[in-house]
């Protein structure tokens, strides 16, 4: 059990990389990038986990009465999610334009330059 969550994060990352390298559709590639990024969520939350702990929110938990999980990595994950979502939106906008200009979303068919 000790290192399993970290290995899961590594596996998700590698699965995303494999998808990116073998992708035949740019929308699929953007999805694979999102998979790669979700590996970082798993890794960060796994690093911050503490056994028998609760969420670091003290609106209904008396401070000091229970251990809480690491809030720093949770805040980093939140940052990660927001940046991931915006980057995905920007990449999808690029895919829309590529598909309009070149008539294809297959990265292999996009190898030649066009004026």
């Amino acid at each position: 059990m000790g290192v399993l969550p970290y290995l899961v994060a590594a596996w998700i990352f590698l699965a995303g990389c494999y998808g990116l390298a073998t992708s035949r559709n740019l929308i699929h590639a953007v999805g694979c990038l999102a998979v790669c990024q979700s590996a970082t969520y798993v890794l960060l939350l796994a690093v911050g986990y503490r056994d028998h702990a609760t969420a670091p929110v003290f609106s209904d938990v008396q401070p000091g009465s229970r251990p809480v999980v690491d809030p720093v990595v949770q805040a980093l994950t939140l940052t990660d999610v927001v940046v991931g979502a915006t980057v995905t939106a920007l990449l999808l906008a690029l895919v829309v334009q590529v598909s309009k200009r070149h008539g294809t979303v297959d990265p292999d068919a996009l190898s030649e330059l066009r004026g």
Partner: protein
């Protein structure tokens, strides 16, 4: 490069990376351990500043400057999408025709819309008290408006969503964040330092000093940004057509 050669390259590179990652994982502190020095200090600081939600305290107080960078990324990405998805010279706009909507879908969408909008605003307002905050609540509030697109039609959505106004709102929200930071400089402390306002009573809406202000600015920015992003993509899908 041929497909075969590329697969080989991926296998070799991925295998080496996997070996390195596994070696690194085996050296990490054990999962679920009790030693979290940064987390313990963050919790202590957050309680000292009367912020019940430690994550809000980290995002809008201890790491407020990083959040400024983050909302700048969001702002820049929205700007990029607006530029990339504009109408080009060889395209024209077609008025979308109203489509019939199944009655249960219409009823459900119109019943849930106000509830979802209120939930979004609630999550933003209670960012410093309960799980959630500007980022999460902003997304909920912005997507709730789009229930009108599902329940009625595109024109109804356009009536309650003047995109120009949301673009201005996006910029204003980022400015509000900056102005709150600069207020610290004028008040004689540091940029974005949370020492200007009283910390208030623990676990009330006004607690946490500048945390609720920055949280509200981020909530407004995210809500406006998501509305503008979805508007641009919907424009491409529904209105803009190729050719004259």
């Amino acid at each position: 490069m041929s497909r075969r050669a590329r697969l080989w390259l991926v296998a070799v590179g991925g295998g080496a990376l996997a070996a390195l990652l596994v070696a690194a994982c085996l050296d990490l502190p054990a999962f679920g351990g009790t030693r979290h020095p940064y987390g313990d200090r963050a919790v202590r600081e957050s309680l000292a500043r009367h912020t019940a939600n430690t994550i809000a305290s980290i995002n809008f107080d201890q790491r407020a400057f990083d959040t400024l960078g983050e909302i700048s990324i969001l702002f820049a990405a929205v700007l990029g999408c607006v530029v990339l998805l504009r109408q080009t010279r060889d395209e024209h706009r077609a008025r979308p025709e109203p489509e019939p909507v199944a009655l249960p879908v219409r009823r459900y969408a119109l019943a849930v819309l106000p509830v979802a909008l209120l939930t979004g605003l609630y999550v933003i307002a209670h960012g410093q008290l309960s799980p959630g905050g500007g980022f999460q609540g902003g997304v909920v509030a912005a997507t709730s408006l789009h229930l009108l697109y599902l329940g009625a039609d595109y024109r109804a959505l356009e009536r309650i969503r003047p995109v120009g106004l949301y673009e201005v709102g996006d910029a204003l929200a980022v400015s509000a964040y900056l102005v709150t930071g600069i207020a610290g400089l004028i008040g004689g402390t540091a940029f974005l330092a949370n020492t200007l306002l009283p910390y208030g009573t623990f676990n009330t809406l006004s607690s946490g000093g500048t945390v609720p202000l920055l949280n509200a600015a981020v909530g407004m920015e995210v809500a406006c940004a998501v509305v503008v992003l979805l508007a641009r993509f919907l424009d491409q899908a529904v209105e803009i057509e190729e050719g004259k």
